[in-house]
């Protein structure tokens, strides 16, 4: 008898433990629900003696991580009561990081600060109401964000992120190969037709040793860079209708086919996606003489531990679509930092955002998103380790030519930009792999884009 009652008691205890266990998970699950409607900035005022720890999510690899930890050290020295924990979710991979981050937010984990790789990802979160608006903080500090940052991501009139880093497109050229072919570094105002000629002249060799004139990566950005550099929004017009019937589409698609099939000056698209090539290796291993890319590659060029190479790199602005097009247009993208709507320490988080975005110490290696930063000094610092690898004059021209500007701020702020980008990538695959006409590909793309837009606006 005694034995049995012990068993019963034991099992009862177990059951109770189970139930309480479940009970607490259940209350955890409902936590974000009750938190979300609290839109007002009801943050606990950060008392000077109170210790808070902010969790900052990003995708830092080793290079970026060094910058971040140096910035955090400086910040913690100035603000001893705030600790910042930097958590790279998937180092070096922003796409996967975004997926993990979404799951963490929707499951109610502590997320205070997050970094976004581009405007689309920022807008997608802003439209879902998971970001806190920065307007009240700006107002409190008497700051006009338009005077502070190059781009202020706005959803329904409110700012939701501060620009941490600015990026623009340029062409990287292998200066040694350029010299061997007797070509000058291209300058502002050159066109994609000139680009094609350069690629043709820079192509040499056969088989495994072949050096291609240029390399186009598998991303939608390379299917038609004109959309990205010379239109306000790459995929949509201001009235939200898709832009895949743009005249530049046919021109660039056909340019890519000519370069691949006739000039043989670019690695076939099938090889790019079939072998999952990496664009950094193609350029730094001298498999391609030119590369269309962006400012983040400046730091990589100086990083010869990770990308060993000995040649000098020259830089040129993005080619324009034709001789009549405006000079110097490039898409000015960037990385943005936001505060989570569910953060309990919004004031501290805002402090950190301002500190990081306006910091001008040596730790910063990329162009700043802050208008008042001395970008030239930052770039000098970035290339200081290996100045012999840079053609400095062309680099500064490609980055700081006064003619460089973005095609204008777009009012288009949608959450489905990445789906439209996939339409562009699929359409280009269809065109180049199935040998359809540009018109057919454009027609399919328009249909798919219209469907996506319709599904998302009902």
């Amino acid at each position: 008898m005694k034995k049995r009652s012990w068993l019963k008691l034991g099992s009862l205890l177990l059951a109770v433990a189970m139930f309480t266990g479940c009970g607490s998970t259940a209350s955890n699950e409902s936590a974000p629900q009750t938190d979300t409607p609290k839109t007002e900035t009801q943050t606990e005022p950060a008392k000077s003696d109170e210790q808070v720890t902010l969790k900052y999510y990003n995708w830092d690899n080793e290079t970026m991580g060094a910058t971040t930890s140096s910035l955090i050290q400086q910040f913690e020295a100035e603000n001893p009561n705030i600790k910042v924990e930097s958590i790279p979710l998937v180092p070096g991979n922003s796409t996967e990081t975004m997926k993990k981050l979404d799951i963490m937010i929707s499951s109610g984990d502590q997320v205070d600060l997050m970094l976004f790789p581009n405007l689309e990802e920022t807008m997608a979160r802003a439209s879902q109401g998971v970001l806190a608006s920065l307007d009240d903080f700006y107002a409190k500090d008497n700051i006009n964000p338009e005077e502070e940052y190059y781009v202020n991501p706005k959803y329904q009139g409110k700012s939701y992120a501060a620009m941490n880093q600015r990026g623009l497109w340029f062409i990287m050229l292998n200066k040694d190969m350029l010299d061997a072919a007797g070509l000058p570094v291209p300058t502002m105002g050159w066109t994609w037709d000139d680009f094609r000629e350069y690629a043709k002249k820079l192509t040499k060799g056969e088989g495994n040793d072949k050096v291609y004139g240029t390399y186009f990566h598998g991303w939608g950005d390379y299917a038609n860079p004109i959309l990205f550099n010379e239109r306000k929004n790459p995929f949509q017009k201001e009235d939200l209708t898709p832009q895949f019937d743009d005249p530049s589409m046919k021109y660039f698609f056909e340019l890519r086919r000519t370069m691949e099939k006739d000039d043989k000056s670019v690695k076939p698209y099938a090889d790019v996606i079939g072998a999952k090539l990496a664009y950094r290796t193609e350029f730094f291993n001298e498999k391609a003489a030119m590369l269309t890319t962006g400012t983040w590659m400046v730091a990589d060029t100086a990083n010869i531990e990770q990308y060993p190479h000995k040649f000098k790199t020259a830089f040129a602005p993005v080619p324009r679509s034709s001789k009549d097009a405006e000079e110097g247009l490039t898409s000015i993208g960037g990385q943005y930092i936001s505060i989570s709507e569910n953060s309990k320490y919004k004031d501290a988080a805002y402090k950190f955002i301002r500190f990081v975005t306006t910091n001008t110490s040596d730790a910063k290696k990329e162009l700043s998103g802050w208008k008042k930063a001395d970008d030239k000094k930052i770039i000098e610092g970035t290339i200081a380790a290996h100045p012999e690898l840079f053609d400095k004059e062309s680099l500064f021209n490609a980055l700081f030519d006064p003619k460089i500007k973005s095609p204008g701020a777009s009012e288009v702020a949608v959450a489905y930009g990445s789906q439209l980008k996939k339409v562009l990538e699929d359409g280009f695959s269809q065109f180049i792999l199935d040998n359809t006409t540009a018109e057919d590909a454009m027609k399919t793309m328009m249909e798919q884009a219209n469907k996506i837009i319709k599904d998302n606006t009902k």
């Binding site: 059951a15 974000p32 979404d102 879902q128 199935d434």
Partner: protein, 312 residues
């Protein structure tokens, strides 16, 4: 059970007859012992399944948190039959199943018989064919994507030597991406099927074959009249598991082609992944996973019925 309850009843003292007699008490103890397991089941299986069924009637953007779940009735189920990508993925799934299951089974049966009867170093061959099955599918995929390389891969180099000037671009080809994946899937799965078949073959007694050859049956006759019929249980086991497995193919597609190029190799599970975790349409993705459940359930039921009839 009966014996023990009688024993328990004998132990009961008079005057203690309340609602909680010993039988009930024991039952309660039993249930409590089972409770952790059942609760685990409830929260790990029943709750998610029920939740996904509910979600399939909702519109839910994953990023928006639980608050953004919106009930929309049957809209998801209506939309999926008008969704060209879903229909394409169903077609691809069907092609994948029709090719991987029969070809894989036929090949593995053939190889199993050959290994079983006419080869020295049996165990070597068993291991050789089994290695792809135990290797990580990602490693296998990486090796194959090197073999499939459109211009420098060994396969296309060989084809070009043979004089084919424009060989298929395999994984980077809108026509050949799915066949390329099917070939890898058959190759990687065959080891497991061979092992199962070999087990079946060793269970067939040798004297049956002896008697048959004394009666003058050729080896072809022996194969069709003895080996095949006696392997029926093995065959039907493999058939059902492979069939179900083939509908759930995901890893190879996700790693090698990501459903592309131009969605030519997309399959249903990959669509579920893409709608749910790329486009954040959790409701739609849940509806699609219930479509998958319905298909797999239906196929299993049909094969089951068919099989039971045969065995009786």
């Amino acid at each position: 059970m009966n014996e023990s309850s009688k024993g328990a009843a004998r132990l009961t003292r008079a005057g203690e007859r309340s609602f909680w007699n010993n039988e009930r008490k024991e039952a309660l103890a039993g249930w409590l012992f089972l409770a952790p397991e059942f609760l685990g089941m409830l929260f790990l299986y029943v709750f998610p399944v029920g939740f996904s069924l509910y979600l399939s009637f909702c519109d839910w953007n994953l990023v928006g948190g639980l608050a953004s779940i919106k009930f929309i009735g049957l809209d998801n189920f209506v939309a999926m039959f008008e969704d060209k990508k879903v229909l394409l993925s169903l077609k691809n799934n069907l092609i994948y199943t029709v090719f991987t299951v029969p070809i894989g089974m036929a090949l593995s049966l053939l190889l199993a018989v050959v290994i079983h009867t006419r080869v020295f170093f049996q165990s070597y061959f068993k291991v050789a064919f089994f290695i792809p099955y135990i290797s990580s599918i990602i490693a296998v995929g990486a090796v194959w994507s090197a073999l499939y390389h459109p211009s420098q891969g060994p396969i296309n180099q060989f084809l070009m030597r043979l004089g084919i000037s424009d060989p298929p671009k395999w994984l980077a080809d809108t026509t050949y991406s799915l066949p390329s994946i099917i070939i890898i899937a058959i190759w990687a799965g065959i080891g497991y099927q061979i092992i199962i078949y070999l087990a079946g073959l060793t269970n067939i007694p040798d004297d049956v074959y002896e008697a048959a050859s004394i009666d003058g049956a050729s080896s072809t006759q022996q194969f069709f009249k003895i080996t095949m019929p006696l392997l029926t249980p093995t065959t039907s086991f493999l058939f059902i598991t492979l069939l179900i497995g083939s509908f759930k193919v995901f890893d190879l597609v996700a790693f090698l082609t990501a459903g592309g190029p131009n969605d030519s190799s997309t399959v249903l599970v990959y669509r579920i992944f893409e709608e749910g975790f790329r486009n954040y349409k959790m409701g739609y993705a849940s509806a699609l996973s219930w479509l998958l459940f319905a298909i797999v359930g239906l196929v299993t039921l049909i094969t089951w019925k068919f099989q039971n009839k045969k065995e009786i």
